[in-house]
């Protein structure tokens, strides 16, 4: 059995990617399970999706903590502790990242175990071909090819089926197929050593004690601590203020849903990047055109 775990951000097409892979493998005659896991977060936040593909009936359920392939749909997740993308990474496993960086860079930067890091700038191909950054078909195509679970025909049929079910228009679907085939052809099949259960030491079940309040009762005493969550990781584009053009009208300050823009003592707006989600309302609302956007590239 091959276990694939996708990581991405809500709205990026990660669930659909897992479904395309699932359907493609299903069309090839495999036993398949696919499932998304939504957290509390809404669009923009990290999400996970899973595929199990097997020649035998699948006797597992739920989240995959021991993936054979980890597929990262958005490189920014590598820096996002909440996304927990490295869980279960191991020697011999495959770590696929959608990025423009080299594989060696990622291996070193994150001190990964001896896993096979494969990189590909899926977003770039998708934006160029489809015009949008939803990587469902392209990411699925890469994984189809790497795992060798589906040929082109099954892949194309799976993309059609899944993208139709989320109501994409035929022309968009065709562009997605085009982009997916480009990705498919760039990848090659990689032999996979699948995970074997090998108990070193079992989990230790403990007897949970009773705790008096405050500990035993789920009350939050902290104030405003969501700041620690660093939703700045959600950003695909970054708003940058050009202070030479800024006329200090304050519109951006009253337009940011997340309260990430404050005014300094001279009434210039200042963006708090740690949590700015990159919605770009500020950019769109600034009539002086003093806010520019930059594609977010992580400074690793």
């Amino acid at each position: 059995m091959i276990r694939v775990r996708f990581h991405g951000r809500g709205g990026q097409g990660i669930k659909t990617a897992s479904r395309i892979l699932g359907t493609a493998a299903f069309l090839e005659g495999y036993y398949v399970q696919d499932a998304p896991l939504y957290g509390a977060e809404r669009r923009g936040a990290p999400i996970t999706a899973f595929d199990r593909i097997s020649k035998e009936p699948v006797l597992e359920r739920g989240i995959i903590t021991n993936p054979d392939i980890i597929a990262i749909g958005d490189e920014t997740l590598l820096n996002d502790a909440a996304a927990n993308v490295f869980q279960g990474i191991r020697k011999g496993g495959i770590f696929f990242v959608n990025t423009h960086y080299e594989a060696s860079h990622i291996l070193e930067r994150y001190c990964l175990p001896e896993c096979k890091v494969i990189v590909h700038d899926v977003t770039d191909i998708t934006i160029n071909t489809v015009g949008k950054a939803s990587v469902s078909a392209t990411l699925a195509a890469c994984i189809c090819r790497i795992t060798g679970t589906a040929g082109k025909e099954a892949l194309i049929n799976a993309i059609k089926k899944e993208l139709k079910s989320i109501e994409l228009k035929d022309e968009t679907i065709d562009k997605n197929i085009e982009a997916a085939i480009l990705c498919y052809d760039k990848m090659s099949e990689v032999p996979i050593e699948t995970y074997r259960f090998n108990p070193v030491s079992g989990p230790k079940i403990i007897a949970v004690k009773h705790y008096l309040p405050p500990k035993g009762v789920a009350v939050i005493y902290a104030k405003g601590n969501t700041k620690k969550r660093k939703t700045g990781n959600w950003r695909l584009f970054k708003p940058c203020i050009n202070y030479e053009r800024c006329v200090r009208c304050g519109i951006c300050f009253v337009s940011c849903p997340d309260g990430c823009i404050s005014l300094d003592t001279d009434n210039y707006p200042v963006i708090e990047y740690a949590n700015c989600k990159g919605c770009l309302i500020c950019y769109e609302e600034c009539s002086a055109k003093a806010i520019e956007t930059k594609r977010e590239v992580r400074t690793w």
């Binding site: 809404r42 309260g259 708090e272 700015c276 919605c279």
Partner: protein, 315 residues
């Protein structure tokens, strides 16, 4: 807390933040912006009663974006919860059990699914009991937290997860949006208003005005929802402004039931508003559904006709 005596322009808006960044809500959530702006007038001595909805997720243990108190309750009973807190604070202060400096403004925060449907009875009860509280409904015009299914707040002609367009239903949602404002108004509460996050001055002025009244102070804010409405997050405010300018989202208030529009729109064709949102795509593509578009426009015209004749509408 809010230093401004009156709100004339953006500069009057309080710089202090009460809803801090890092919430799990969608990027570009219009409802969150409205809440942030409202809080700037309400100040810090607030307890929020959050009925189940998208905003449930604002506080997900162990995190909260608030500097003040918050309680999550079920979908049907936000105002009932507010009643308990208000009454408890009143009686504890009256009995001298707690000092009056500990008093709080009680604010119900609910989505439209709760406000228009499952929570309406509870709201009606609280207004009837003249409960001294604020009520903020962020109206994204469907059950947003469950993935955008039809609610009685969903407008005619819009697509939701349970009202997909089909040959038999080319308009998608066939019912008209329930007029919650008028239902409330029939109760004659001291203050009620509609607001929009893209009209921050109007919004702030209304919250300020509301604070002068004891009793129910009810707000419905348009909550542009990139996720459910199908548009790029950056357009939330642009769409909110269009909703106002096309006249589909009238900005108004009612004091003890007496209605007044606080802004007369430019009456742009509603198409401009509709065509920016995925939830109305089926009205334009693959073939244009003139019947439905016209019907929406007519609904707006019919709504405004009587008011445009009255002098109470000031520009």
């Amino acid at each position: 807390m809010d230093r401004a005596k009156i709100y004339k322009n953006v500069k009057d808006i309080n710089e202090e933040e009460f809803v801090l960044p890092g919430t799990p809500l969608c990027a570009g959530c219009g409802g969150l912006l409205a809440l942030r702006l409202a809080y700037k007038v309400l100040g810090q001595k607030v307890v929020i009663l959050n009925a189940a909805g998208c905003f449930t997720l604002l506080s997900t243990y162990p995190y909260t974006p608030f500097r003040s108190s918050w309680l999550y309750t079920a979908m049907a009973c936000g105002p009932a919860g507010a009643q308990g807190i208000r009454d408890a604070l009143d009686i504890l202060i009256e009995k001298g059990s707690i000092p009056k400096e500990e008093n709080l403004k009680v604010v119900v925060l609910t989505g439209d699914g709760s406000a228009y449907d499952i929570g309406l009875q509870s709201t009606s009860g609280a207004i009837h009991r003249n409960l001294d509280f604020y009520y903020i409904c962020y109206d994204n015009e469907a059950f947003g937290n469950t993935g955008f299914q039809m609610a009685s707040s969903s407008p005619y002609g819009s697509r939701t997860g349970t009202t997909q367009p089909s040959d038999a239903y080319p308009m998608a949602t066939e019912q008209q949006k329930k007029d919650l404002f008028e239902i409330w108004r029939a109760h004659k509460p001291p203050y009620m208003a509609t607001v929009s996050p893209a009209h921050p001055v109007d919004l702030s002025a209304k919250f300020k005005k509301a604070s002068e009244y004891k009793g129910p102070k009810l707000f419905i804010t348009l909550a542009p929802c990139p996720t459910g409405w199908g548009y790029g997050a950056s357009r939330s405010n642009r769409i909110a402004k269009l909703a106002v300018e096309c006249g589909i989202w009238p900005l108004k208030e009612a004091i003890e039931g007496k209605l007044k529009h606080t802004y007369i729109p430019k009456f742009k064709p509603v198409e401009e508003y509709l065509s920016l949102q995925g939830r109305y795509d089926h009205l334009f593509k693959p073939v244009r559904n003139d019947f439905t578009i016209k019907k929406i426009q007519k609904g707006i015209d019919r709504y405004w006709a009587p008011f445009l004749k009255l002098t109470s509408c000031k520009r």
